[in-house]
């Protein structure tokens, strides 16, 4: 809790699903002549959802909002509608609410069938909120898949020239991963079934007894499902394609909150339900993290497209989350969760900036740009700010997360006699600073480019600046006062205990 507002909204968690759902339907209905007003409807609903999500941050005891209703109880199956928010999910719920509102604000210029565009954003929000709040495997899986469909259409309707290929690739990769995850979920639920009833709730699975071999096997299934989503090398190739082709709003949500579904799942399901499995595969988690960090950063240097570079940097930064989790220590997991939040804020800035480059300048090709700081000062400011935050400038939110993760990993490595592994982190840090500074130098500074026609280039509009400004303020605020986030994370990680 940041500060106890002492208000209690009945059915808050259900509202977090219903409000965007109603909003999506209402916005989609604004077709034809009314489509100019679709953005206002979408804005109102997403703002309401964001405010509701923010209330959670100011609640002393989030447990009062837990909801649980029986849903299907037949043929030896028990599936329930259980919503639950704790220190792990509250930041993600807030981030989802915030980012959907901000991208709605940011995309207010969208002119091609805006009603569908904003309806897709709100539909995606339903799925995201559902994933982060559900405490029943059946509901969780449904919500997990619900996020796919709006994103598929977002990319294939509003994306770039190779959007069809990217959309199908995104869909197939993540769907195959999620069916593998589904097999893992079946195994968990049915192994923990007692009295002939297979209960899909998280709690019932936690009460189950699993042998070490079972844990190791099922962990692998679930880990694969989540790692593709994060994404981990070598299953990452869908991400750069999806990002390059997706519209800005899609990219922001994809990188800002959808990738986090992967790391959220690893913590919520793999670590909570299968602690021995996690210990067994600790080397794999760490290796995946290290490879992603270095490979992502290395690939960034080679990119000519600004947005593709940011996409690869996401792979690198999500690798950090994986590394933090892989330490399996309190500090490591805490920092991993904090990095999820921090990266969500920062990457939103980065993708918005890339979108603006494409829209306002007409190209995102780094070699074609140059000296834009003089022409577009506001754009240059936000781009610099985003890059600095992302490479971990002290006093901004990214610093705490990355520093903390590397510190936890140092502790792990030194106590296990593998200190040389730290070298990978250092290389990655160096590469990260390198590609950001180099990209900045080539785009913002130096002589004004003459390779493209600059006559129509214009700086950022007000709604876009507002969206970026809010994000930057939050990046500074949580940079100075990370404790506000740790107040949620610490008790949760403390309760994981067993590890």
């Amino acid at each position: 809790m940041i500060y106890d507002l002492q208000i209690e909204i009945p059915y808050l968690l259900t509202l977090l699903l219903v409000v965007p759902l109603v909003g999506a339907v209402a916005t989609a209905a604004m077709g034809g002549k009314r489509e100019r007003y679709a953005k206002y409807v979408a804005g109102a609903f997403s703002a309401a959802t964001m405010l509701l999500a923010t209330v959670l941050l100011f609640t002393k005891d989030m447990g009062v909002y837990d909801e649980s209703y029986s849903w299907i109880e037949s043929a030896g199956l028990r599936m329930s509608y259980i919503l639950h928010v704790d220190g792990l999910s509250v930041l993600m719920v807030f981030l989802s609410g915030l980012l959907v509102f901000l991208v709605t604000l940011f995309s207010s210029r969208e002119g091609d069938r805006p009603n569908c565009f904003f309806a897709l954003l709100l539909a995606m929000e339903v799925g995201l909120m559902g994933v982060y709040m559900s405490a029943d495997y059946f509901l969780f899986y449904i919500m997990w898949e619900v996020t796919l469909i709006p994103m598929f259409f977002m990319i294939s309707w509003y994306g770039g020239p190779r959007r069809h290929y990217a959309a199908i690739k995104f869909f197939i990769y993540t769907h195959v991963a999620s069916v593998v995850m589904l097999i893992g979920i079946f195994a968990l639920v049915f192994q923990s079934a007692s009295g002939g009833v297979a209960d899909f709730s998280f709690q019932a699975v936690l009460n189950g007894q699993f042998s070490d071999t079972f844990q190791a096997m099922v962990f692998l299934l679930l880990f694969f499902g989540f790692a593709v989503k994060m994404p981990a090398v070598p299953f990452h190739t869908w991400l750069p394609d999806a990002h390059t082709e997706a519209p800005t709003a899609g990219s922001v949500l994809l990188a800002g909150v959808m990738l986090k579904m992967g790391s959220y799942g690893i913590i919520r399901i793999c670590l909570e339900a299968l602690p021995q499995g996690a210990e067994h595969w600790q080397w794999l988690i760490i290796a995946t993290g290290l490879v992603a960090i270095v490979y992502g950063a290395y690939a960034c240097i080679a990119q000519r497209d600004l947005k593709k570079m940011v996409a690869f940097s996401s792979i690198s930064h999500m690798g950090m989350v994986m590394l933090g989790i892989g330490c399996l220590s309190e500090a490591g997991i805490q920092m991993g969760i904090f990095q999820m939040f921090a990266h969500g804020l920062i990457t939103a800035v980065l993708f918005m900036v890339c979108g603006l480059a494409g829209h306002n300048i007409g190209t995102r090709e780094i070699p074609l740009l140059g000296g834009l700081a003089s022409k577009m000062p506001l754009f240059a400011f936000f781009m610099m700010f985003g890059f600095m935050a992302s490479l971990g400038l002290p006093s901004l939110v990214g610093f705490w997360a990355e520093f903390g993760i590397i510190f936890s990993f140092y502790e792990y490595a030194s106590s296990n006699g593998m200190l040389w592994l730290i070298a990978f982190c250092l290389i990655a840090l160096l590469l990260t600073a390198g590609y950001y500074l180099w990209a900045m130098q080539r785009t913002l500074f130096g002589r004004l480019t003459s390779k493209i026609d600059l006559s129509h280039v214009h700086d950022i509009s007000r709604p876009e600046a507002a969206a970026l400004g809010i994000l930057c303020l939050l990046i500074i605020a949580f940079g100075f006062w990370p404790q506000a986030a740790f107040d949620f994370i610490e008790p949760y990680v403390g309760s994981l205990g067993a590890i």
């Binding site: 109880e73 619900v146 469909i149 593998v180 195994a187 049915f190 079934a193």
Partner: protein
């Protein structure tokens, strides 16, 4: 609910009441078509017959009625549920037939009569308690289906399809008769209960083994299980689309019901038989199931004609249902029955959309569906829902039924893992593969631009039938309990 009105009316014939009404409808249909020259009037009468039969069955089912007639027919929760399934299929087919342009050249009275007779045959099988009544019911349904498939006389594709269908159908009948007679020779009786009782004391005999193989092959043709599936895509493509729908969703279930009746009754309910050959039969079915779903899905990817694609996807769906025969547990049967129902509405809905679009001049190629999202928003959206349901995307009905069906291969109802986990893996991966070809249709409809932008207006009966399928696909997805309890009752009725 009280079933006394029906029992008073039909007396000892009550177990056959829904079929008798349906059969009566089939018999009066030609006479009706002499009186009414308009197809709409004929269709209305056939719909009334189906509705009356449906109502009777609904009352019997809801009141928990069970009874038997002369050891030949027995009505219980299982047969009631299967009758409901066949009636639903017939209702959807009859609703749209009159307004389909594919049936304009047919003798509509004969068409309706055959449709009702085929349904009655299927319903007889659902209640049959004896090898003879099973055989007669299957033949009634099959012979009428051959004619239904062949009715588009002027179309060479239909003629080819019908010839294939008749020859292969005849072959499968020959095999089943051979198998059934062997079974009779071993057991000395044709009643299913009697066979179970006499086999429980008998040891393994080669005659019994041959009987089992012959029956699997013969009825395997009916459900188009691999390797007996070759005829299905040709027949579904060649027949009028309402008939294709009827065959893909109804006729296929007929074979599955026979499998349930004969094999589950012999091997599980007649538990003593379990001492021999059960494992082998289970493995045979598991392999057939895995092959059927895999080949169905993989071949579907290569199809460019949407009816053929749906045909192969039907083959794959039958493969999923065959999981029940491998696992042979009550829980699996519950899931299988539920999946049979969800399949009726999702696959039926998809076929209906294809049929509706043929009426307004849209072709059968997937490429003809380009730009459909703008030309016919409701149909395109409904198609999207049906295809996603078939692929098992939550929260639609196909997802829920697959969860229960596939989980039956993992979990035996008491929290113990079964040996069929590999089958669940194959099934789940197949679901993922299937998404690829379903998504291709979605892509054509919503993403690619078509040559024409003109809005499409399809006949109202089609819209009504599609809306029913759409509603049930969504409702059974989010509230499966509506039907799941009936499925569980039916499963326990069959297992005794």
């Amino acid at each position: 609910m009280d079933s006394s009105i029906i029992t008073d009316l039909f007396r000892e014939f009550t177990p056959m009441a829904p079929m008798l009404v349906m059969l009566l409808g089939a018999l009066v249909m030609p006479a009706v078509s002499l009186g009414y020259k308009r197809r709409g009037g004929v269709a209305a009468v056939s719909l009334a017959a189906i509705a009356a039969s449906l109502l009777i069955n609904a009352v019997l089912l809801a009141s928990g009625y069970s009874g038997e007639y002369g050891g030949l027919f027995g009505y219980d929760a299982f047969s009631g549920l299967m009758i409901l399934l066949f009636q639903s299929v017939a209702f959807l087919a009859a609703l749209v037939s009159a307004s389909s342009t594919e049936t304009t050249r047919l003798h509509f009275g004969a068409y309706s009569s055959l449709l009702l007779a085929a349904t009655a045959g299927m319903m007889f099988v659902a209640t049959a308690d004896d090898l003879i009544t099973i055989f007669v019911g299957v033949e009634l349904a099959s012979i009428t289906s051959y004619i239904l498939a062949a009715m588009k006389r002027k179309d060479p594709r239909a003629a080819e399809a019908a010839v294939k269908y008749v020859i292969i159908g005849g072959l499968s009948t020959a095999m089943t008769v051979y198998g059934l007679s062997m079974l009779y020779g071993v057991a000395g009786t044709t009643s299913l209960d009697g066979i179970a009782a006499s086999l429980s004391t008998a040891g393994f005999s080669w005659a019994f083994g041959i009987a089992v193989v012959m029956m699997i092959a013969g009825y395997g043709f009916k459900i188009a299980a691999v390797p007996f599936h070759m005829w299905a895509p040709d027949v579904y493509e060649g027949a009028a689309t309402p008939v294709s729908m009827f065959l893909a969703t109804g006729s296929k279930k007929l074979g599955i019901v026979v499998f349930f009746k004969i094999f589950l009754l012999l091997f599980v309910a007649g538990s003593a038989v379990a001492s021999f050959a059960t494992e082998e039969v289970q493995y045979a079915f598991a392999i057939v199931a895995a092959l059927t779903m895999t080949i169905g899905n993989v071949v579907a990817i290569a199809q460019t004609n949407i009816k053929r694609m749906l045909a192969y996807s039907s083959i794959a769906q039958a493969g999923y249902i065959l999981i029940v025969m491998a696992v042979m547990s009550e829980y699996a049967l519950t899931g299988g029955l539920f999946h049979m129902f969800t399949h009726v509405f999702m696959k039926g809905g998809a076929f209906l959309i294809v049929g509706a679009l043929i009426c307004v001049g849209v072709g059968e190629k997937i490429s003809d569906y380009r730009g459909l999202g703008r030309r016919a928003p409701f149909l395109a959206f409904a198609m999207l829902v049906f295809l996603f349901a078939l692929a098992g995307i939550p929260p639609l009905s196909g997802f829920t039924s697959k969860v229960i069906l596939f989980s039956a291969a993992i979990f035996d109802g008491d929290g113990v893992m079964t040996q069929w986990i590999w089958l669940a893996f194959v099934a789940v991966l197949n679901s993922a593969i299937s998404l690829y070809y379903y998504a291709r249709v979605a892509k054509a409809m919503y993403i690619e631009k078509g040559e024409s932008e003109a809005k499409l207006k399809v006949p109202a009966p089609f819209l009504a039938a599609i809306a029913v399928c759409l509603a049930l696909t969504v409702i059974l997805g989010v509230y499966p309990q509506l039907l799941l309890d009936f499925c569980a009752d039916a499963a326990s009725a069959l297992f005794g």
